[in-house]
């Protein structure tokens, strides 16, 4: 399905981790960033990977054939209009999605229920906060086909 997804250009990623903070804030439900994040553990749905040479941000790929959807033992993960979404009230925190996601794109939040990128379509940001806040425009939100 053609739709916009979050992509990162790894040659431009500075590894500054700002996307992680913007993600956690956008999904906090609070309007004050300091109140939402300061002095607390954060639970971002995007994370920086890499080493000293290379870095890039990883979040859900919203796969065409998502292993997490097929594997969820609680029927909590579904794909709707191209977006892989999780019903956190149904999630029992069994980690099966963590066991099957080839991208490492799911992680538990504070309550133990899993968190994943839902493209900020349901929160106050309305568009991916990681993209909007990326200082080097390394993270983009666009439509692409299969990688070459």
């Amino acid at each position: 399905m053609n739709m916009k997804r979050v992509y990162v250009n790894e040659e431009w990623c500075l590894g500054c981790h700002l996307c992680e903070y913007n993600c956690a804030f956008a999904n906090s439900g609070l309007s004050d960033m300091a109140l939402a994040l300061k002095g607390k553990p954060i639970y971002p749905r995007i994370h920086i990977e890499g080493d000293e040479k290379i870095s890039y941000a990883v979040s859900c790929r919203h796969c065409e054939d998502p292993m997490c959807v097929r594997s969820c033992i609680a029927g909590a993960i579904s794909k709707q209009d191209g977006v892989v979404r999780i019903d956190r009230d149904r999630c029992v925190g069994c980690f099966t999605c963590v066991l099957v996601c080839p991208y490492g794109a799911l992680a538990p939040g504070e309550s133990g229920a899993m968190l994943k990128c839902e493209l900020c379509l349901q929160n106050a940001s309305g568009e991916p906060a990681c993209v909007r806040g990326c200082p080097n425009k390394a993270i983009v939100y666009e439509e692409r086909g299969e990688a070459e």
Partner: protein, 410 residues
């Protein structure tokens, strides 16, 4: 219009319905459901006992799932025979259901060995179905002493579900450790310790010699008094429908990568089937929910004349108790890379230049990266395994592979 029949109504059946409908929007689908519930998340029955999953949330799909898919569900009906030469399924009410393509998704049943005096125990339960869980839910009172025979996944999850609501929960197993089918002694000890910290009691490497109505006498000489007995010794795939019809069965119903049994027009999927296991190279029963769904889906697509193969099956498990998670996958074969702390064990098994399996207890971040390396049979010399073995990361893949993973639609 093609006629599809599915025997069984759990995860594989739901996958089969969705698989059929992805190819054929019109064919008539009939689901024979011995259980009187819509498809539900079977592993959640322990969470139901614990009070963390309500009956309305345990359903696997939305309430209108069957209507929207245009399925007829025969609740409370049991298939008693498959007649491949007539292309019909005989039901327990004497009626016959004709089919063009059939999927056997009958799951497995608890296996109860004969034990002396068991027939005199009144309050005894299995833990396989939602009805089992509902019955147990009614039977257990705050003052109940619960005795669980079997420390595998079913027994332990049941024990965990009851721990907070019974006076005591005691577990016995013939094996010298908990979860003996997936964990080695050291990993099992971590899980056991966590359960003991929460009050569970164990008799391991022990077995019941005989029962009296409210007492178990163990081989070790221990005597366990109980009010409620749960039998979770093991399960057996339900193969008889296919076996009696002359189909090939091993431990499970033998299927190929398209989920076809040896009987023409008959497919099988889920816990009743045995299929190719990528990590061991053998045909095995891969009785876990993700495989049930994927096998069911593949069966459905193929029944409807499409083509979908299920050839990436591996054994894998994620099981957690009180915040401690044990994740395992593949086979424990070959050279071992190991990291240990007080509260965690990580073991990766490599052989012939491939990652074959892992055991992770208390350290499970991004384990899916390892799982996918096993599933895809990714050559270790094509990745920076030195980096990846210390922590699961896609940074160990080469730039081209990362480009494929992250640069476009996957």
């Amino acid at each position: 219009m093609k006629r599809y029949v599915i025997i069984g109504n759990c995860i594989a059946a739901a996958g089969c319905v969705e698989g059929i409908r992805s190819v054929d929007p019109d064919g008539a689908i009939t689901v024979v459901s011995e259980e009187t519930h819509p498809a539900y998340c079977r592993p959640l029955i322990s969470y139901f006992l614990e009070g963390r999953a309500s009956l309305d949330r345990i359903s696997y799909r939305a309430p209108d799932f069957y209507d929207r898919a245009g399925c007829t569900v025969l609740y409370g009906r049991r298939a008693v025979a498959v007649r491949p030469e007539e292309k019909a399924v005989e039901l327990d009410d004497g009626t016959s259901l004709p089919y063009d393509a059939l999927c056997v998704a009958t799951g497995s049943s608890p296996f109860v060995p004969s034990m002396e005096g068991l027939e005199n125990v009144r309050s005894k339960y299995s833990f396989m179905t939602l009805d089992d869980a509902i019955a147990l839910d009614k039977a257990v009172a705050p003052e109940s002493r619960v005795f669980v025979v079997g420390a595998g996944m079913i027994g332990l999850k049941c024990a965990e579900g009851l721990l907070g609501r019974a006076a005591s929960v005691t577990v016995c197993d013939l094996a010298d450790r908990v979860l003996s089918s997936v964990l080695d002694f050291e990993c099992a000890a971590l899980v056991q310790r966590r359960l003991e910290e929460h009050g569970m009691r164990f008799y391991l490497g022990d077995s019941v010699l005989r029962f009296e109505p409210d007492t178990a006498y163990l081989k070790s000489g221990a005597v366990v008094g109980f009010d409620v007995l749960v039998l979770a010794v093991g399960i057996r795939p339900n193969v008889s429908l296919v076996k009696d019809a002359g189909g090939e069965v091993g431990r499970g119903i033998v299927v190929d990568e398209m989920m076809r049994t040896s009987l023409p027009g008959v497919f099988a999927a889920g816990d009743c089937a045995q299929s190719f296991d990528v990590s061991s190279g053998e045909s095995r029963v891969l009785a876990i929910l993700p495989n049930a769904y994927m096998q069911g889906h593949a069966a459905g697509v193929n029944m409807a004349g499409g083509r979908e193969v299920f050839d990436k099956g591996i054994v894998m498990n994620s099981i957690g108790f009180f915040g401690m998670h044990a994740m395992t996958a593949g086979s424990y074969d070959g050279e071992v890379y190991e990291e240990k702390t007080e509260s965690s064990v990580k073991r990766l098994y490599t052989k012939d230049g491939l990652l074959k399996g892992f055991m992770l207890v208390g350290c499970d971040e991004r384990a899916g990266i390892y799982t996918s390396m096993i599933r895809e049979r990714m050559p270790l010399d094509s990745v920076d395994f030195g980096l990846m073995k210390r922590g699961a990361t896609t940074a160990g893949y080469c730039k081209e592979k990362r480009g494929k993973m992250f640069g476009g639609v996957v």
